[in-house]
Assembly symmetry: C2
Homo-oligomer: 582 residues x 2
């Protein structure tokens, strides 16, 4: 029965595991999305939870498994979708969970089944991809282990999983109104950074942290929604720490006091191991690091997460690495590790450049040359007085009909058919505010020839204000890309000669640094329509994204449930009746 | 073009008038619904506006005209609908604007055309009917004048229109979460009462108003969003004051200092004129009163709107009757009129009983006896620990598929087919909290035989707490009903003998007083599915409503756009393809 009467039933996370082919399993989940009161940082607010949990339940599977999530929207008036960040959705482009792109938002009271294969081991997460529902707290972890019998190319005794996010006391609905207003209102820096949905606003775990505005030592029983999850370890062991960032805005840096880390995975791909004191994690990225508990076991140690790339007005998120059997209540003797200066971009660039594909690993080599190059200049602009981000002077607005349907069925009225430009005027001076700051809206799509190799050069520039250029972590749906290089200033033809074609890392998110460029390459071999956008939620809301369509005619069996809105909905109804009246 | 790119265009309220049959006109409006920053009472919040206005634009038409409203949803993630309160939607049940009942909510970016005839002159309004979007500010006035050449049965020189509402500083989304939580959180009394969307929170127009918590005299330029609209009059004239209440909660009383009023219209029907010092206006009701400017023209006079039926924690809303040429800035010499005590229900009952059909007017007489009687007991209950309202022990939950479609096409899985009971256990003690306070959810529908006469007896009772019984103004969609009588205590068979069959008023909203009953009669002659519910928005949100279905098989040509969700959406797509995959 489809009616809403079932709300009286117990909400259960069912996790039935049924055997599949080649030892792979089907894993079934039944989720309900709803708003609930929650105290992520000790101040009560409203979060978007799943089955009463915030963050949502962690999905754990093995490579090759098929995930089935029956998602029921229990919101009162809002649609909802969930994007499975880092999962390429091979053969299931309608399950990518991007409203207006891969599907219609699920209406209140309705259920949509996400069914997709997790083909590759790694650290992933999922999150809302409609309006600013990620900012509202709709996210959780998705961990894929290697296939039964397979082994990771590194060893560890146990593991932890950390999902990072940022939190505002102003609700995401009001943030949306602020960002869409004229005069523009920026959302400002987050009040709190969260580790697995937990942070502290009115108190601090580390009172000696002098630059923290929270002056009080937290008095916690541990059962509070905002009490930190401690990492309990035994001496002389090696641990894998999985880290993913679902932040709406903040670029972060994570460090473990007194412990070095070895980076071994990025965005679901193995990387050549390298040691770090601390690691930058941008929104949309995930990493695995190994660390060994080789320090004095009678002490505990801080794990600290700090803001990078924006002048930090948010205190670091903290939790404790607790050496058993030392009591968890014993505060670390050393102060929390101090992150590199927020604007030390050289440090960040150097760190990003260390991320390289694992030698002899499974990451394929990139094709030697691209079939097409798209250069995407990001600028901050005005449209009719509204403040927007634009890509090659087009600010993305998503249409009411999902592209997957409108392109598949040739509904040319569904969106602006004019293709957006492949480059910007090369005379554009990226170091200065634009001469003409006016832009225009567009919902055009880059149509990529199937199976061709595409280079995208992300070109950063000055924002509206002089001497401001921001970090933008760009995330590609449906693919991993090779990160071929980072450069300063304006990308030039000769920069191509310095691309790393030897061991570029395979990632789904790459950052473009202030006043710099970043070049990525991918093969358009996954039939579907895929978002490529800045993973900073307010930036995407302000238009900072593009859409790639490839091999769409090859797509068969799109579930009707994915397309029952906009012109695809009308098309389906019209075809039946000859008219839309029934 | 259907794409969202049109957001760049100027938002214009178009009002093209084209001639129709019999001198009637088609009036066209293009509206966009969106959230915006606004200061209804001097404290900035977010309201749901139409074309940048709050309240939404006033529609003015003549009886017999056809209204076309092209409503585009510019919200980011929320659906929207608009209900045309008091318009019976004869022949257009899909245009009633009730989500889950008459249509699917309009998705973000989509447009739905409301096309309906306003067949009867009167004072009406419109408002959101999805979640608590009425509380968010989605409302406006709809005024229907008599047909060209026709005359009202009373005379006046000019007129004013007042739409009353109540306002909370907590946003409606958070109110929804509060009301849906366990433990339950009540929304409390409104911060401010609004007259045409304007009220004063941190200051008062009348500092002498000692029981006002606002201690400061307002300093207003008049251009503020919260500055009152003054009623500018000339001496020795007669004015028609149209009053409608879209409050989410508050029952109100309106008075004009030193001026008597004569009530001439209620809910779009003429009533037998009667004089009052002040008038109760319940949520969902509308009235027209006449007053004559026969007072000292060198003074101004307060118009005051106060809370009835709940212990008032909200100061009265005030504006000024400004006798020209007396300066508007001259404060009235007499203090604002004082409303009857909030709990003087005798006064309220007496006033309600004065509302009778105009002798010799157009209001038809009721059929002599009903074909069916439905007694609806309202109780406050718990369901799985959640606090709800229930009718005959069923708390209304609306299904994902609109009833109009699911009943028309026999989709029995769309909702609980068990009909709700026509009466409650007659031994139920209405003066006490219920013995068993547990209830259950339901979305059942009362199916009424077409063209039969139905009596509904609204039976009030004690709420969860001892000695608490509240006012509930019940509103019926698709019909006017005759109000046959009000009684105290439990309705008994012999009460029928005292029904007023002579000159009962024709209304669409009738209040049931604490511990009392109210009997209404209507003819089920309008094919459609119609909500009948408490017009207090949080009460409806908590389940206080029922649904009447009548003559549904006679309905032809439901626009597909109204049904493209839930099982009707699936049905239409399935029929085309044989499967839901395409």
């Amino acid at each position: 029965m489809e009616s809403s009467v079932v709300v009286c039933c117990l909400v259960i996370l069912i996790s039935i595991i049924t055997p599949g082919s080649w030892g792979a399993k089907s894993r079934h989940f039944r989720w309900e999305v709803e708003y609930m009161h929650w105290s992520p940082d000790g101040m009560e607010g409203v979060v978007m939870g799943i089955n009463g949990q915030f963050p949502g339940p962690t999905i754990r599977a093995r490579a090759g498994d098929t995930i089935h999530v029956e998602l029921t929207n229990k919101l009162h008036t809002e649609g909802a979708v969930i994007h499975w960040h880092g999962i390429r959705q091979l053969g299931t482009p309608w399950a990518d969970g991007t409203a207006s792109i891969s599907q219609c938002a699920i209406n209140p009271g309705e259920t949509f089944v996400y069914r997709f294969k997790v083909d590759k081991a790694g650290t992933y997460f999922y999150h809302g991809h409609y309006g600013m529902q990620r900012s509202a707290g709709l996210y959780g972890s998705l961990i894929v282990d290697v296939r039964e019998g397979d082994e990771e190319p590194f060893e560890y005794d146990d593991e932890f999983n950390i999902l990072l996010s940022d939190w505002w006391h102003k609700g995401s609905h009001e943030q949306e109104v602020d960002l869409s207003s004229n005069p523009f209102r920026w959302i400002g820096e987050p009040q709190t950074l969260l580790i697995n949905g937990r942070g502290q606003y009115n108190c601090s775990l580390a009172p000696q942290l002098s630059h923290s505005p929270a002056s009080l030592q937290c008095k916690l029983r541990g059962s509070e929604q905002y009490a930190p999850q401690l990492l309990r370890v035994r001496p002389h062991k090696t641990y894998r720490l999985r880290i993913a960032s679902s932040t709406a805005l903040a670029s972060l840096n994570l460090a473990i006091g007194n412990h070095k880390m070895t980076v071994v995975e990025a965005d679901g791909n193995y990387v050549h191991p390298f040691a770090v004191e601390n690691i930058d994690v941008y929104s949309g990225e995930s990493y695995s690091v190994l660390f060994t508990t080789d320090q004095d076991p009678s002490n505990n140690y801080w794990i600290s997460v700090s803001v990078r790339g924006r002048e930090p007005k948010t205190p670091p998120a903290l939790t404790i690495l607790n050496y058993r059997p030392t009591p968890a209540s014993k505060l670390p003797e050393s102060p929390p590790p101090v992150a590199p200066a927020w604007n030390d971009y050289k440090y960040s660039v150097a760190l990003s450049k260390k991320v390289l594909a694992l030698k002899g690993g499974s990451t394929p080599k990139p094709p030697a040359r691209p079939d097409r190059r798209i250069v995407l200049l990001n600028t901050q602009n005005f449209i009719d007085g509204y403040t927007k981000w634009a890509i090659n002077n087009v600010s993305l607005v998503l249409p009411a009909t999902p592209y997957l349907g409108s392109i598949r069925y040739g509904l040319t009225r569904a969106f602006d058919q004019k293709p957006p430009p492949d480059d910007f005027g090369r005379e554009y001076e990226i170091m200065k505010p634009a001469g003409n700051q006016n832009s225009s809206y567009g919902n055009g799509v880059y149509r990529l020839r199937f199976n061709t190799t595409v280079d995208v050069v992300l070109q950063n520039a000055n924002a509206l204000k002089a001497n401001v250029s921001e970090i933008h972590p760009w995330h590609l749906h449906g693919h991993d890309f090779w990160v071929l290089g980072y450069g300063e200033g304006k990308f030039a033809e000769e920069d191509e000669g310095r691309f790393n074609l030897e061991n570029p890392p395979f990632k789904n998110t790459a950052v473009v640094f202030p006043y710099g460029w970043t070049a990525v390459r991918f093969v358009a071999d996954n039939p579907g329509v895929w978002a490529f956008h800045c993973h900073i939620e307010p930036h995407l809301h302000m238009g900072m994204g593009v859409v790639f369509a490839e091999g769409v005619r090859r797509i068969k069996n799109i579930p009707g449930e994915a397309l029952g809105c906009g012109l695809t909905g009308k098309l389906l109804m019209k075809k039946k009746n000859g008219t839309t009246g029934i």
